[in-house]
């Protein structure tokens, strides 16, 4: 049962007849169907900007936004709701409301967490002058932010938030997600070209080069999971990662095979490059290109680009969770959750899924504020000379593992029976499947470290002995 049934029943209930009228259907779609994106992803992407500033401040021994409370919006609501009272009385009413025992600490907490700052930034962007530079290509300049936002939100349609909440139940969910997220490439190029400014043009060209080349590793990482689970339907992939017993964690794809573990890492870093986060953010490199492709954007259009960037980060986190970290399943005690009734199980699963991609958002922010950024040729070399070969190696390893474990018998149509069910590896088999790749990888890493990691003796003196 997925949201589509819920929308039909709700529309039918609204219009009173099994065949719902057009307005009832529209209202149902507006309320129910886009709920996962509108009520879950959009606010978290907005809060993401404050998470970034607070985490950055914490890492830089600063405090971050904490003085902006919510008195502005509250005063506005008070003016609107209590319109019949004079202003002085309205202010006094607001003051009493704010000093209620529960409300006061809550407002104080929200202020300290920076929620007020989030609202203030949004409100300021509303009032900002929205200009299109004279030399710019108007239509392209105006359309770019909307394309960037759509490219970031569309893939969420196929991702299962919980067993019942998914917007688009398609058998090829994985392929759909990757295909649709290609729109942002075009949006960045349009922004770069549309701004009519040399710095934006450079930023746009760099963004296109980077995004296109990093879609290959993301695609290959996805192909690895599809090869392993035998299907592209995200629901089936998540369902397969369930393993009865206390630690459902062991069923996750990430821990099934070292090659899948490698593909998970590649997906995360290639995902970082997809949303131009440091160390891959030369497209909007602050210090070189002033602000890259969004140099000319101001006000709400720039806000849309920022929202698209954070939604893209959440998308990468969601893809990683769905494909490798067991989607909405909890690491421990999934048995108990599955046995709960639907109205209790769904919020728990939703919370787990959201928790996973908020953790990945935090890791991305953490990486952004520690690492410097790559140069353009280093990014390309990293993609084509390291990530893609690693992905191919992992795919080869996965195929060998499945073959050695007798996964596919002659004449057996591929994909009917997921490889994992046919994989009855005994203990020595599992050891072999893990030991050989780990040894191989360890040797590779040790050789690379010996060649690259040579620190000059004086540097040890600087870093107190530990590199």
């Amino acid at each position: 049962m997925h949201l589509g049934h819920a929308v039909d029943t709700f529309a039918g209930w609204l219009s009173g007849s099994p065949d719902p009228a057009w307005w009832a259907l529209g209202l149902a779609i507006a309320l129910l169907w886009i709920a996962p994106v509108l009520l879950v992803v959009f606010p978290i992407a907005a809060v993401g900007q404050i998470i970034e500033r607070k985490v950055a401040a914490a890492m830089q021994r600063r405090i971050g936004p904490n003085t902006v409370g919510l008195e502005g919006p509250l005063r506005f609501l008070c003016r609107v709701l209590l319109f019949f009272l004079p202003r002085a009385r309205q202010d006094r009413a607001l003051a009493t409301f704010c000093s209620l025992p529960v409300v006061r600490p809550l407002l104080h907490l929200l202020q300290r967490l920076g929620l007020g700052q989030l609202v203030a930034d949004g409100v300021k962007m509303l009032g900002k002058e929205d200009i299109v530079p004279a030399g710019a290509d108007g239509a392209v300049f105006r359309l770019a932010p909307y394309l960037a936002l759509s490219g970031a939100f569309l893939p969420f349609a196929a991702l299962p938030f919980t067993q019942h909440i998914v917007m688009l139940e398609v058998p090829v969910g994985a392929l759909y997600a990757i295909a649709v997220s290609g729109v942002t490439v075009m949006a960045l190029l349009m922004a770069g070209w549309g701004s009519g400014n040399k710095f934006s043009m450079l930023g746009g060209m760099r963004a296109v080069a980077q995004l296109i080349s990093y879609e290959i590793p993301v695609g290959l990482a996805l192909a690895g999971v599809v090869l392993w689970s035998g299907t592209m339907d995200l629901h089936a992939i998540v369902a397969q990662q369930y393993r009865p017993g206390v630690f459902t964690l062991l069923g996750w794809n990430l821990l099934q095979s070292p090659f899948l573990c490698l593909l998970g890492g590649v997906l995360f870093f290639a995902g970082l490059a997809e949303c131009q986060r440091t160390p891959f953010d030369m497209a909007e490199a602050e210090s070189e290109l002033v602000s890259g492709f969004n140099t000319e954007y101001s006000g709400l259009r720039w806000g849309m680009f920022a929202m698209a960037e954070y939604t893209e980060m959440l998308l990468i986190g969601a893809l990683l969770a769905t494909l490798f970290l067991g989607g909405y399943q909890s690491p421990i005690g999934e048995q108990w959750i599955v046995s709960l009734p639907v109205w209790a199980e769904t919020p728990l699963h939703l919370l787990l899924f959201v928790g996973k991609f908020v953790v990945s958002l935090f890791v991305m922010v953490w990486i952004r504020w520690t690492l410097p950024r790559f140069r353009v040729d280093q990014v390309m070399r990293l993609c084509w000379l390291t990530l893609v070969p690693l992905c191919l190696l992992a795919l080869l390893g996965l195929a060998l593992t499945i073959l050695l474990a007798g996964g596919t018998t002659a004449g057996d149509a591929y994909g009917r029976l997921p490889a994992r069910d046919r994989l009855d590896l005994s203990l020595p088999g599992h050891l072999l499947a893990w030991a050989v790749p780990l040894l191989l990888g360890g040797a590779l890493l040790w050789a690379a470290r010996r060649q690259h990691g040579q620190l000059h003796p004086h540097l040890r003196q600087l870093t107190g002995g530990r590199p």
Partner: protein, 395 residues
């Protein structure tokens, strides 16, 4: 691969880096001919912060020019004051009648504040280079340490950035009683912080990759283009004015001079961006050691300011009104290299000509020679590695 082959002149465009740009450390403008990624040629454009300090030198009496020397290099104002005051004392010393002897405690305080300011100046230089390459956190940690140095200087002379503290004949005020304890406490805490700073950025693989082998400068080129200070020592030239032409009490201190040795490992070349970066970090360690040494030989304070042993400021009011006629050239080791003053006096109490030669000026002179055929992203790394301060170039 000649530059012409990489970017045929037909496809080039002119790009303006500055005068207001996050990476140009102030108002320096560089016009870059590039095809988008590789820089074919760059012509720096200076003068946006030309405040005519040398002309003011001809309008203002000797002691009144000291606040303007702060503004020649505001990141290390103490060293700038010291350079000018030493030059005037050397001018007065050419005529035995007007010679000035600075009390020993004054000399020790001068070296102490100069080395402390060198630490805070290198912190900005090193932090800004990391920020230009995208790492914001090290810059913030550097600024946090700088605040502690500012506190010490503020208690000493009331100002945080432009101190007007070193005067002709000594220093303006004596150390406050708790100064030595505070400074040694700061030095101990600071060394732990620097280890964490280096672990965060210096040995970071991406940072090393971005700086290794970029714009290497050979020793001969460095000397020919007049590079000085850390930029010169990074090319392997073992030359430091504090050791080779000692002034003040530097003769009594054991000055160790770190030089560049291709620190970046595999891709590293002698005299590249990474060497200049690491030489500054090693110099910070040297400065900490020298501060501790000075704290050990600091004589106790005497009642009178011009007491030869414990005093801090000799009385120069008579000599400074009738300086000897003639000229003098005196140079000191500022954090950005040799800061040399060429004073011409016509016997009146106002100098006839004050000429300041600074390290950043020659560093800017080598930009055009160095930035051929490198990437656009590396232009930012090269500017950061020279640690230029714009008023030093424009004066």
């Amino acid at each position: 691969m000649t530059v012409e082959a990489i970017t045929p002149s037909g496809e080039r465009m002119q790009l303006n880096l500055g005068p207001q740009h996050p990476a140009t450390h102030g108002v320096l403008r560089i016009v870059i001919d590039t095809d988008g990624e590789v820089v074919a040629n760059c012509t720096p454009d200076h003068g946006y912060l030309h405040r005519s300090i040398e002309k003011i030198g001809e309008c203002v009496e000797y002691p009144l020019f000291v606040p303007y020397t702060d503004r020649v290099d505001y990141v290390c104002a103490m060293n700038a004051n010291l350079a000018y005051c030493l030059a005037v004392e050397k001018l007065l010393a050419t005529d035995p009648a007007t010679a000035v002897t600075v009390p020993l405690r004054g000399e020790c305080i001068r070296v102490l504040v100069a080395e402390l300011n060198r630490i805070s100046s290198h912190l900005i230089g090193v932090g800004a280079m990391a920020m230009d390459l995208g790492a914001y956190t090290p810059f913030m940690h550097g600024i946090a340490q700088r605040e502690l140095v500012n506190d010490i200087f503020e208690k000493l002379c009331g100002q945080r950035l432009t101190y007007n503290y070193v005067t002709i004949g000594g220093v303006g005020f004596d150390l406050h009683p708790s100064a030595t304890a505070e400074i040694s406490a700061f030095l101990d805490k600071f060394e732990v912080e620097m280890v964490r700073f280096n672990q965060l950025i210096t040995t970071n693989a991406i940072f090393r990759e971005r700086c290794a082998g970029i714009a290497p400068i050979t020793a001969a080129e460095a000397v020919a283009f007049g590079l000085v200070g850390p930029n010169l020592r990074a090319s392997g030239v073992d030359w430091d004015l504090r050791r080779d032409e000692p002034y003040g009490i530097y003769g009594q201190l054991a000055v160790r001079v770190p030089t560049g040795q291709a620190y970046a490992g595999r891709h590293g070349v002698l005299g590249d961006c990474y060497d200049r970066y690491v030489v500054r970090l090693l110099e910070i360690q040297e400065s900490v050691r020298q501060c501790r040494e000075v704290l050990k030989i600091l004589p106790p304070a005497a009642a009178k300011a011009n007491d030869p042993q414990g005093g801090w400021q000799a009385d120069v009011s008579k000599q400074i009104r009738k300086p000897p006629k003639g000229e003098v050239h005196c140079r000191t080791e500022a954090p950005r290299g040799e800061m040399g003053y060429y004073l011409v006096s016509d016997g009146s109490k106002i100098p006839y000509r004050v000429r300041v030669r600074t390290g950043s000026f020659s560093a800017a002179g080598i930009f055009q020679h160095v930035m051929r055929g490198i990437f656009l992203a590396d232009v930012v790394a090269v500017i950061g590695s020279f640690d230029i301060v714009v008023p030093e170039i424009d004066r």
